[in-house]
């Protein structure tokens, strides 16, 4: 035949491909060869078929299509020659996964090969079955595999056991067939079979509580096996760096963990052995550390004695100091898992954890951050915050958001003094302003607002910060608000807590004007600035011409919100000048207390509305909400317009976080995924603040895993009559692609009648060049959200 003489041998083909200098050349060589291969498949010598397939498999590895070889795999598998089968089965594993139609056709061949006598062939069949066997194939061949568990050849038995593992994963009902042989198999001496058996038992226990109960009886036997392995089982054949068969040890330890979990008796039985392994394992090399690691995990997960637990945590502490980064990594991961249940034990290792923050390796510093945040408490908050601030200044951008919100949360929970709290928040805003959550601004304004003794201090610090940098929006917003409120304190006298600061009125006004005009300022920020300017008209002693001029100019601003404000303020100057002082009065101190204060404050601030800046226009939303409500079944008359401005910017925070003497938090309500379309996902998370039984806070989080940005995203909500709904400003209107920073929005729902909650959402956005509108009712709201 001419075909084989013009086509290459495998190694020659590989050589020629490697010699290709360009992608195009490579493609040419491959296409030419594939043509030969195709021809050969059609009418070539069956003796050489395996060579052709091998070449095709190589080409497939490089990323080229090879589907036309699928039927050849079948033919080769069915051939009696071992060489053919070897390549055929390899091809099946590479080209035929369970999605292909041809896949099922190998079932018969596998069945034949399993029952004939050559163990190498049986091995090939079992290997293929366990790598790519579909559920249907597993059902068909289960009894064949079961028979092989009793075969004389250890080689076949060990493969059969692991094939059973795969079968159970695919078809859990097959557990019934494979459970009984385990008892016998546990007596095996062959390490491979034993290992497979332990794996099989583990798989059975993870799927069936009945199996778990059954195998608990074997704990003493397992303990004995591991004991033998550790004390007398030394054999060079199975050891790594002086540790007896670490693979087997780890697998046994893992099974013991599952069996001992929540079971006093089993845990007792394994206690001594675990202590023995924990103290005697050689830790100079990775193999020993792998065993030790698994031991620690087991100790921490079962009902172990207190002394043993301490030992385990100390081992992790030692791991943390290990020069090997991998060991440090697993230590951090494990400690993180333990920090909730064994807080004080983990606290002891805090200094080392903090050291790990300085790791240049992102994997490690990320873990260290999570763990550090979990370790902050009232006694170490100042020192920890210092460390975390340092980390924030130099950490990679993807960790900044976590770090910033972590610091703010910790500050909220454990701040020793208000001044420290303000300073800390300020520092975070200055370092990572763009990464903080939306409520940071609200929190800080409320914090400052409520601390009269710190007004002068705050306004000075904020003024200095603002004068240096007007780009960090949250900081700018708080600063402008503060200057607007307490501008008089800024100018008069000195504050003993800060450097003496001589500020002239013109400078203050100029700074606010800069913020107003800067292209870096968000619309909301400019709103803050404009309002601050107007407030200053009553705080400053000089004449107000400059302020009036600015306000006047903005009456024709293109931004509707700003324009509206400017017109209102202008009117204030023109026609209601006698009322101006009263309207622009300083807000009363907002004490951080219960919901009651909220409501009172809301009422008293109806008149003071103009002096508060709202983050983003809610009026347009109010009118559209009516549309939305019309769509709900019940009459919508009662549903309130959200007040145009949010009078208590920090209101939500009181309830979101535990106050020091608040009752223990209720069990968290599970999150709810409510929407998914082309990679855009909407999740709702719920909080019922303990002090206010009628209040439900819903955070809507929008994430985008698709390749295209979602823009102009607006989420609106409606609730039935009898509920009060307030939408807070969203964090943004863009949800960046590829899992970028999610967009969040807070909904406050008051449910005084504790009626069953219903929620309708309307989404409008642009995605992949199309504008999308979705309206849907949220089902499956957990009862905990309204009961």
């Amino acid at each position: 035949m001419v075909a084989s003489s013009s086509s290459l041998k495998l190694q020659d083909l590989i050589q020629e491909i490697r010699e290709a200098k360009t992608q195009a050349q490579e493609r040419e060589v491959i296409q030419k060869e594939c043509a030969h291969i195709r021809a050969s498949f059609r009418d070539g010598d069956p003796l050489h078929r395996h060579r052709q397939l091998a070449k095709l498999l190589y080409v497939h590895l490089l990323g080229y299509p090879a589907h036309f070889g699928q039927m050849e795999c079948l033919k080769l598998i069915a051939s009696p020659r071992f060489t053919d089968k070897r390549v055929g089965y390899l091809g099946a594993m590479l080209l035929l996964d369970e999605r292909q139609d041809a896949h099922l056709l190998i079932t018969n061949s596998i069945k034949n090969d399993l029952s004939q006598g050559i163990q190498a062939v049986q091995g090939l069949a079992l290997c293929t079955l366990s790598a790519t066997g579909s559920a249907e194939m597993c059902r068909d061949l289960a009894t064949e595999v079961e028979k092989l568990l009793l075969q004389r050849s250890a080689y076949v038995r060990k493969k059969a056991v692991l094939t059973a593992v795969h079968m159970i994963r695919k078809v859990p009902e097959l557990s019934d067939i494979f459970l009984p042989p385990c008892a016998q198999l546990l007596h095996e001496h062959h390490h491979g079979i034993l290992l497979g058996t332990i794996t099989l038992i583990t798989e059975l226990c993870e799927r069936r509580p009945a199996a778990l109960k059954h195998f608990r009886k074997m704990v003493p036997q397992l303990v004995h096996i591991l004991q033998t392995l550790v004390t007398t089982g030394y054999s060079t054949e199975h050891s790594i760096s002086g540790v007896s068969d670490p693979f087997l040890q780890v697998q046994i330890l893992r099974l013991l963990r599952i069996l001992g979990r929540n079971h006093e008796e089993s845990s007792d039985t394994m206690n001594d052995l675990l202590a023995q392994v924990a103290t005697n394992t050689d830790t100079s090399r990775n193999a020993g550390n792998a065993v030790l690691f698994e031991t620690v995990l087991t100790i921490m997960d079962i009902r172990s004695a207190a002394g043993l637990r301490v030992l385990a945590v100390n081992i992790l502490g030692r791991f943390l100091l290990n020069s090997d980064r991998n060991i440090r990594y697993v230590a951090l991961t494990s400690l993180l898992r333990l920090v909730q249940s064994n807080h004080s034990a983990v606290q002891r290792h805090r200094p080392t954890v903090v050291e790990c923050l300085r790791e240049p390796d992102g994997s490690l510093s990320r873990r260290a951050l999570e763990l550090s945040l979990a370790l902050v408490n009232s006694s170490n908050v100042q020192a920890m915050t210092q460390e975390l601030q340092g980390f924030l200044e130099s950490c990679p951008p993807d960790l900044q958001a976590n770090c910033a919100s972590g610091i703010l949360l910790a500050a909220e929970r454990f701040a020793p003094t208000k001044r420290w709290h303000i300073d800390t928040t300020l520092r975070v805003l200055m370092t990572a302003g763009t990464h903080v959550r939306d409520d940071a601004v609200a929190n800080l304004t409320q914090l400052i607002g409520g601390a009269q003794e710190l007004h002068a201090y705050s306004v000075r610090r904020l003024y200095s910060a603002l004068a240096e940098d007007i780009s960090q929006q949250p900081l700018v917003q708080v600063a402008t608000w503060c200057i607007g409120e307490y501008g008089d304190l800024l100018l008069e006298g000195s504050c003993e807590e800060t450097e003496p600061l001589q500020v002239k009125e013109e400078e203050v006004l100029a700074l606010l004007e800069r913020v107003l005009q800067s292209h870096m300022s968000l619309p909301a920020t400019r709103g803050y600035a404009l309002t601050a300017l107007v407030k200053l008209s009553t705080r400053l002693r000089g004449d107000n011409n400059r302020i009036r001029q600015v306000v006047s100019i903005y009456r024709s601003c293109l931004d509707v919100e700003l324009q509206q404000r400017a017109v209102e303020y202008n009117t204030l100057f023109r026609k209601y000048d006698h009322m101006r002082a009263a309207i622009l009065e300083k807000i009363p101190l907002v004490e951080r207390g219960g919901c009651q204060v909220d409501e009172e404050a809301k009422e008293s601030k109806e008149t003071a509305q103009l002096s508060e800046a709202a983050p983003v226009p809610t009026e347009p939303q109010a009118s559209k909400l009516l549309d939305l409500l019309d769509l709900l079944d019940g009459p919508s008359g009662d549903a309130q317009h959200p007040p145009p401005l949010d009078p208590t910017p920090g209101g939500t925070l009181i309830h979101l976080l535990n106050l020091p003497c608040a009752p223990p938090p209720p069990a968290p309500i599970p999150n709810l995924k409510v929407f998914e379309r082309e990679g855009l996902q909407l999740n709702l998370s719920f909080v019922r603040p303990p002090g206010t039984p009628t209040l439900l806070l819903i955070t809507v989080t929008a994430t985008n895993t698709s390749g295209g940005d979602v823009t102009h995203f607006i989420c609106q909500a409606a609730v039935p009559k009898g509920f009060q709904l307030q939408l807070q400003a969203p964090s943004g209107d863009t949800v960046p692609a590829q899992g970028g920073l999610p967009m969040t929005q807070l909904l406050r729902i008051l449910n005084p009648k504790k009626a069953p909650l219903r929620l309708k959402l309307r989404l409008t956005y642009n995605h992949f060049g199309q504008s999308v509108q979705e309206i849907f009712e949220v089902n499956n709201l957990p009862v905990e959200t309204w009961q």
Binding site: I14, Q15, R18, A54, Y58, L61, G63, R81, F82, T83, R86, V87, L90, L94, D97, E98, R99, I118, A120, G123, L126, C127, A131, T132, S134, Y155, K158, K159, L162, T163, V165, H191, G192, L195, G196, T199, E237, H238, I240, D245, P246, F247, L248, V250, R254, N286, A287, N289, A290, F293, E294, R325, N326, I327, Y329, P360, D361, G362, S363, L364
Partner: protein, 146 residues
């Protein structure tokens, strides 16, 4: 284990063993992205990283990266031993193995792996037994080959 990939410093795939059913398209996508992520790591960094919802364990031996994706409950440190054992097996078989050996004898690399791992789990912890099995299979291939 969910899958194991071997690739060069230039990102060329030398071996791919998948223990979970995925379409060709998905496999290509995962491979492309994961290779990029691993190649971006600096030399002194640890061998573990979280990628999507998988734990990735990788190690570089000369010009080849050995990269495994394991499940949440799997032990990272023992996975390093699995990788190392596989390299030792290749080394013993080829005699001081290098990337070229794996390129020109990729089927053998697969055969050896299939004697060490089965369905993503370790099937044989004795180096001797694995190598013996390969030897016997090679002999079988030769004797029946006419």
């Amino acid at each position: 284990m969910q899958f194991m990939l071997l690739f060069s410093r230039q990102g060329k795939l030398r071996l791919q063993k998948w223990y979970v059913p995925l379409s060709d398209k998905e496999k290509k996508k995962i491979t492309r992205e994961l290779v990029q992520t691993v190649l971006a790591r600096k030399p002194k960094m640890c061998s573990f990283l979280e990628w999507r919802d998988l734990k990735i364990v990788y190690k570089r031996y000369a010009s080849l990266y050995f990269c495994c994706a394991i499940e949440d409950q799997d032990n990272e440190l023992i996975t390093l031993e699995i990788i190392h054992r596989y390299v030792e097996l290749l080394d013993k078989y080829f005699g001081s193995v290098c990337e070229l050996d794996i390129i020109f004898n990729f089927e053998k690399a697969y055969f050896i792996l299939d004697e060490f791992l089965l369905g993503g789990e370790v099937q044989e912890t004795s180096k001797k037994n694995v190598l013996k099995a390969i030897e016997q299979a090679d002999l079988l291939q030769e004797s029946l080959f006419s």
